[in-house]
């Protein structure tokens, strides 16, 4: 079952904050976040493995609520370089040996000067 991302698209001014959500109808073991620039391959941002875990680097962080089967990506004080499409990829419990990720439909983020 594909996770659902919201919002589908967001436009920000430089310096503003954004939150992207990822929800699944199935139990999750982990959530991965990727960013894809137009015409390029997705680039790994971070992985969250435990319920309630929060991770971050620089001004991008994420949380994972295992009980609610959802994750959120937080972009603080956005920069022009944050523009792109953000995907969450989810691991269902029990898929560790295959490493299969099911990706959401993506959230397009545009940061304007």
């Amino acid at each position: 079952q594909q996770p659902v991302q919201s919002p589908q698209a967001v436009i920000l001014r430089e310096g503003e904050d954004a939150v992207i959500n990822c929800s699944s109808s199935k139990a999750l073991y982990s959530v991965h976040w990727y960013r894809q620039k137009h015409g390029e391959a997705p680039v790994f941002l971070m992985i969250l493995l435990k319920g309630g875990e929060q991770k971050g680097h620089d001004k991008i962080s994420a949380s994972f609520n295992e009980k609610k089967q959802q994750s959120s990506l937080y972009l603080t004080a956005s920069q022009l370089s944050y523009s792109g499409t953000y995907f969450c990829g989810t691991h269902n419990t029990g898929s560790s040996n295959t490493g299969k990720l099911i990706f959401g439909q993506g959230t397009t983020l545009q940061v304007k000067p």
């Binding site: 073991y29 991965h32 997705p42 493995l49 691991h91 560790s96 040996n97 490493g99 993506g106």
Partner: protein, 113 residues
């Protein structure tokens, strides 16, 4: 360090023609390998994955096939292309049995005319 290569980078093929896309990984052994397709403006659809030489799992029934003749080589093929096969094909690898992140190759942009 590990690197992942895909070729060709772009391809324009007529309907009904065969297809062969290649992906190779360097700097690691026994990786899990994945083929994804991304239609224009859409998300990442998992097509095939492999946990070892000769082991292929198909996620979506279609006229594509995959093979893994060597540990770090993954090939996507078709005997007869359809218009709907157009898209951005991405290969990814992950270190063995774990919840580690996937790393994507640069992709092949396929246009079927």
């Amino acid at each position: 360090s590990q690197t992942i290569h895909q070729w060709p980078a772009t391809l324009v093929q007529p309907v009904g023609s065969p297809l062969s896309l290649e992906c190779t990984v360097e700097g690691t052994s026994n990786p899990n390998l994945y083929w994804y397709r991304q239609a224009a403006g859409r998300g990442l659809q998992l097509l095939f994955y492999s946990v070892g030489i000769g082991q292929i799992s198909s996620e979506v029934p279609q006229n594509l096939s995959a093979s893994r003749p060597q540990d770090r080589q993954f090939i996507l093929s078709s005997k007869k292309l359809l218009l709907s096969d157009s898209g951005f094909y991405l290969c990814a690898w992950k270190a063995g049995f774990s919840y580690n992140e996937q790393f994507f190759g640069p992709g092949t942009r396929l246009t079927v005319l």
